[in-house]
């Protein structure tokens, strides 16, 4: 996935120059250049920007983002190159010969300052009334360049209406600086194709098809554009006011579930380096804020594994033993709501391949307003369920009309990592300084559900459980870490051979269980196209996550994001998981308990079908 820069849309000339090893033009592979009078050697084809960064020379950027193809439109990164009439942009300029570069000459400083002044003159609003205050790249540059007045005026009137139509993403084009990161995210990185630059000249705006509200187009709510927006033009739909109100209401029993990925990332909002896990401090913080109970989403992640794994085995049985060809294989995971909306829009004829399981978030909501309410004798009407998620699509998901199988809205609010951090700050707490505490009963034990956060995690957990159910033995990997599931390559494929199976699974004897993992919808598209061409006939199970890197790279996670940051977060999750004693979902005592006490007809039984499974809508990509 990370080599996603190869898309058919990005103009070929704008792609970074890649010099293959052994390229005959790359003699020696190094070019000598001079930056600010000092000589350096850099590999042929390095951009001036990268060369400068390697030398710790800071060059401001706005439209540049390492996950995206080069745009070269903001022009803030200009440098002076001897012999050139104009100032080239360092982000787009591949070094192929001996250049003499100046990074802060008079012309360069003047031009950058002018560009900033121009951007600020069109940028509506004041920094103190903006949710990106202190985390805004434009603001940061204004400070860096000592901007102390609006040299070319300042807009005082709104020119665009804020688009609040979506449950997940809010667009405020008055804050947009037209860096096109969202466009490149949406079209190139995610290949969803909702946002594009439209009109031209002074009328240029980033817009949806026919300027429709975001809720009416094929947006999958993944929020990747939010994570890459340098300003506050894009943000998630923030429910924290409503949550505060619920907390303040003594009649309400407010319950929060926290997913693993926010816990591995929320520290970044408090200035900690990426990859610092804050699970237990967070528990304390949430209690102090006033949540009545704090639960671990891992519990329903385990529940998902039980349900989804069983569903897979049932499908296999139907297909292999009963030769029922109405059964669709491979089975696709269904825990990523962005992916669900993607397939509903773009592959509506393939919905039967999806597992019917709800996502862990929604399972939890349903369980809380039924099982938990019964256990504790609380009127479900008085329960408010909040889900702390790394995800903006979860906000849409909990508002889907079919998600009220408990008889109430299963999950009332989806809250992102960023919004949670905001609430904690508002409560006057400094998260890293808080004491540790545990999750609340009865959902306090967790196992492999933890690793759901990273791409491949669902697959790994599911395999551990399914393998052991079928063979009675543990998966043959040291420490149960199924390494082929890990890593960040866009589409991965691996298999596990099932041997010496238990008698009831004899039809699986000798079968290679083939599975596939993809993250980012651009990769999901590759998988779906392969499925369309009939190339996945030997695959049994496919995990798809809508966001690059999986949930740890979700649209609700702290900004900024990069490959490195995502890898660090994943590391934190795997580290925490390695320390757990229970590593398989079915060994989680809370799981055993809920099947014994509540879901008595077992995984995929009648009640679990009612509460834990769902159905999907054929949306299609045409817009009325």
């Amino acid at each position: 996935m990370e080599n996603n820069k190869e898309t058919n849309r990005a103009p070929i000339s704008q792609k970074p120059l890649v010099i293959e090893k052994g390229d005959k033009d790359a003699i020696g592979g190094l070019v000598e250049i001079e930056i600010n009078g000092k000589p350096f050697k850099v590999p042929l084809g390095t951009t001036i920007l990268d060369a400068c960064r390697q030398q710790n020379i800071h060059i401001p950027t706005l439209c540049h983002h390492e996950d995206l193809c080069i745009a070269g439109v903001c022009r803030i990164c200009v440098v002076e190159v001897e012999g050139m009439r104009v100032l080239p942009t360092s982000c787009s300029f591949p070094i192929t010969n001996r250049l003499k570069i100046k990074t802060s000459s008079e012309n360069v400083r003047k031009a950058r300052r002018h560009i900033l002044d121009l951007l600020l003159s069109e940028h509506y609003g004041e920094c103190y009334s903006c949710h990106r205050n202190n985390n805004c790249e434009l603001q940061k540059l204004a400070k860096e360049y000592g901007v102390d007045s609006y040299r070319f005026g300042h807009v005082t009137q709104r020119r665009h209406e804020i688009d609040r139509s979506s449950y997940s993403v809010i667009r405020d084009m008055d804050k947009c600086i037209l860096c096109k990161r969202c466009v490149r995210t949406c079209i190139d990185l995610q290949e969803v194709g909702v946002l594009e630059a439209t009109h031209r000249g002074d009328a240029t705006t980033i817009s949806t098809f026919m300027d429709k509200p975001l809720a009416d187009v094929v947006c999958i709510n993944c929020g990747q554009c939010i994570n890459r927006c340098p300003t506050a033009a894009l943000k998630a739909n923030d429910p924290s006011d409503d949550i505060w109100r619920a907390i303040d209401d003594p009649k309400k029993h407010v319950v929060i579930q926290t997913a693993p990925s926010p816990r591995a990332a929320i520290g970044e909002e408090f200035g900690l380096p990426a990859g610092t896990s804050m699970t237990k401090q967070l528990n304390t913080a949430l209690k102090m804020i006033g949540f009545d109970k704090v639960f671990d989403t891992n519990f329903t992640a385990d529940l998902t594994i039980m349900e989804e794994g069983t569903e897979l085995l049932l499908r296999l049985k139907k297909a292999l033993v009963e030769k029922d060809d109405s059964v669709k294989l491979p089975q696709f995971t269904s825990c990523s709501p962005g992916w669900i909306k993607y397939i509903e829009h773009f592959y509506p004829d393939y919905l039967d391949y999806l597992s019917s399981c709800k996502s862990p978030q929604q399972m939890f909501g349903a369980v809380i307003k039924t099982y938990y309410a019964q256990l504790n004798n609380i009127n479900p009407e008085d329960i408010v369920t909040v889900a702390l998620m790394p995800c903006s699509a979860k906000k849409f998901e909990c508002n889907r009309p079919e998600m009220n199988d408990s008889g109430y809205k299963d999950v009332d609010y989806g809250l992102t990592t960023r919004e949670m951090a905001q609430m904690i700050k508002e409560a006057g707490l400094y998260l890293p300084g808080l004491p540790e505490s545990e999750f609340d009963n009865p959902f306090d034990e967790s196992s492999s559900g933890l690793i759901f956060g990273a791409t491949g995690g669902v697959m790994e957990s599911a395999l551990r459980t399914a393998y052991e159910l079928v063979t009675g033995r543990q998966v043959p990997f040291s420490n149960l870490e199924i390494l082929p599931c890990r890593g960040f390559s866009g589409v991965r494929q691996a298999s596990v051979k099932l041997e010496n199976v238990k008698p009831e699974w004899s039809f699986l004897e000798g079968v290679d269980l083939n599975f596939m993992i993809a993250h980012g919808t651009a990769n999901a598209k590759k998988v779906m196209e392969a499925l369309k061409r009939g190339e996945l006939s030997n695959i049994h199970f496919v995990e798809i996550m809508a966001c690059p890197g999986g949930c740890i790279g979700g649209g609700g996670q702290p900004i900024p994001t990069s490959k490195e940051i995502r890898a660090k977060r994943a590391e934190a999750i795997y580290k925490e998981a390695a320390g757990l004693t229970i590593k398989k979902s079915f060994e989680n005592p809370a799981i055993a308990k809920i099947y014994a006490e509540f879901l008595t007809d077992g995984p995929c039984g009648h009640l679990s079908h009612k509460l834990l499974h769902t159905h999907y809508a054929k949306r299609g990509k045409y817009i009325p």
Partner: protein
């Protein structure tokens, strides 16, 4: 409407005597490298405005390694005040197409595009008919004139966007995208249409090549100045008795041009269209050439009765609307320059703010992504400096 004065190059009578088809015949007998060398020797520079040496451009494209290459004729002629390509396409389309074939032969491309601006659609049928005729006469298609060389020309229409005259924006437009110019490097000669090496030349550049081939590079260098060889078509409009297309040798002074077109009481001449420079009366002895006043062909004449601020405003409105809108300096910078003009118009603009805007203009010239934003401050800077007295004395 033909070329108004006696022309050295584009003279149909002369050409008929020489039979242009022979030019093509001659070119295809040469080796591609000799052909390029001949063009290089002639010192021919691009007629579209930027003035890049044509021979060098072809050489670079010829040296690029690729299984496919393309030739593009830039017939987007959008610069205000330019209409000489229209006359060439109307009356000398044979020379234009021959020039394209020669270029294709020289760089080993087999496909050429003419990017014809949408406003010239009425020329399309005639051009298509002419292409058909060339096919019939084996001047186009497979094995042209039994030389073993295949070449075909397709005409694509623009849809009303000035910036699509910029070569990389033009290529974007050919590829079906918004006409937003590309980062350079890489240049079109290496990475052009569909990523293949592509030569983009102006209509006049292509039309001149067959003449050079026929009469020899040396003949061509006898006209013009040291760094600007040959003659140039100019399109003259504005306050004069005889507007139209003229062929003049490089090095001609503004004064001589004014005489040629019978202009009187002239106050200023805009050379190079909206993105060019405004030359005041005191400088009318300056010469038309790449060294001094460079132009893609547009000469606009303003007499004493004209309000320079009004003219400037018209230019700036043009750029605000025609900027592709992708890069900051051009998109917002032009708006600020226009706002400045409007402020002056309303009589509430400090002189110091104009100075500030001129500085902004200089940054735009340096930091914009393409030629549009790099040259759009030209009229602002030249009119505001050369006519400061006039503009501010009235307000």
């Amino acid at each position: 409407m033909p070329i108004k004065n006696k022309s050295v190059i584009f003279d149909r009578e002369n050409l008929n005597k020489e039979n242009p088809k022979e030019f093509l015949y001659k070119a295809l007998k040469m080796s591609p490298s000799d052909l390029i060398l001949e063009v290089r020797e002639s010192g021919l520079k691009g007629r579209g405005g930027a003035g890049f040496p044509t021979g060098t451009k072809w050489m670079l494209a010829s040296a690029a390694v690729s299984d496919k290459k393309f030739v593009v004729c830039n017939a987007d002629e959008g610069e205000p005040g330019t209409f000489k390509d229209r006359v060439l396409l109307d009356e000398f389309s044979d020379l234009v197409f021959y020039g394209m074939i020669m270029c294709g032969y020289a760089i080993r491309a087999n496909k050429g595009f003419v990017y014809l601006r949408g406003e010239y659609r009425y020329l399309l049928d005639k051009l298509l008919k002419y292409l058909d005729k060339m096919h019939e006469e084996n001047l186009l298609g497979k094995n042209i004139l039994n030389s073993g060389f295949d070449f075909d020309i397709e005409i694509r229409l623009g849809s009303g966007a000035y910036v699509c005259g910029e070569e990389s924006a033009l290529i974007e437009s050919l590829e079906g995208h918004r006409g937003e110019s590309r980062n350079r490097p890489p240049f079109p000669v290496n990475t052009g249409y569909m990523g293949h090496p592509t030569v983009v030349n102006n209509v006049e550049t292509f039309a001149t090549v067959p003449i050079i081939i026929s009469r020899g590079a040396e003949w061509f260098t006898t006209v013009g100045t040291l760094n600007s060889k040959g003659t140039k078509l100019i399109s003259v409009s504005g306050d004069c008795k005889e507007p139209g297309v003229y062929e003049v040798p490089f090095g001609i002074s503004i004064n001589d041009i004014l005489k040629l077109v019978k202009a009187e009481n002239t106050k200023a001449v805009q050379v190079g269209g909206a993105s060019g420079h405004c030359v005041p009366k005191e400088q009318f002895d300056r010469a038309l050439s790449f060294e001094d006043l460079s132009t893609g062909g547009s000469i606009m004449i303003f007499n004493e009765s004209r309000d320079m601020l009004h003219i400037l405003k018209n230019f700036m409105e043009f750029f605000v609307e025609e900027s592709c809108g992708q890069c900051t300096p051009c998109r917002i910078g032009n708006i600020k320059l226009l706002e400045g003009v409007e402020k002056v118009e309303a009589g509430d603009c400090a002189l110091s703010y104009i100075k500030e805007l001129i500085e902004l203009g200089k940054s735009m010239q340096l930091a914009s992504k393409c030629g549009l934003g790099q040259s759009s401050p030209n009229p602002f800077i030249s009119i505001m400096t050369n006519f400061e007295n006039e503009i501010f004395s009235q307000r």
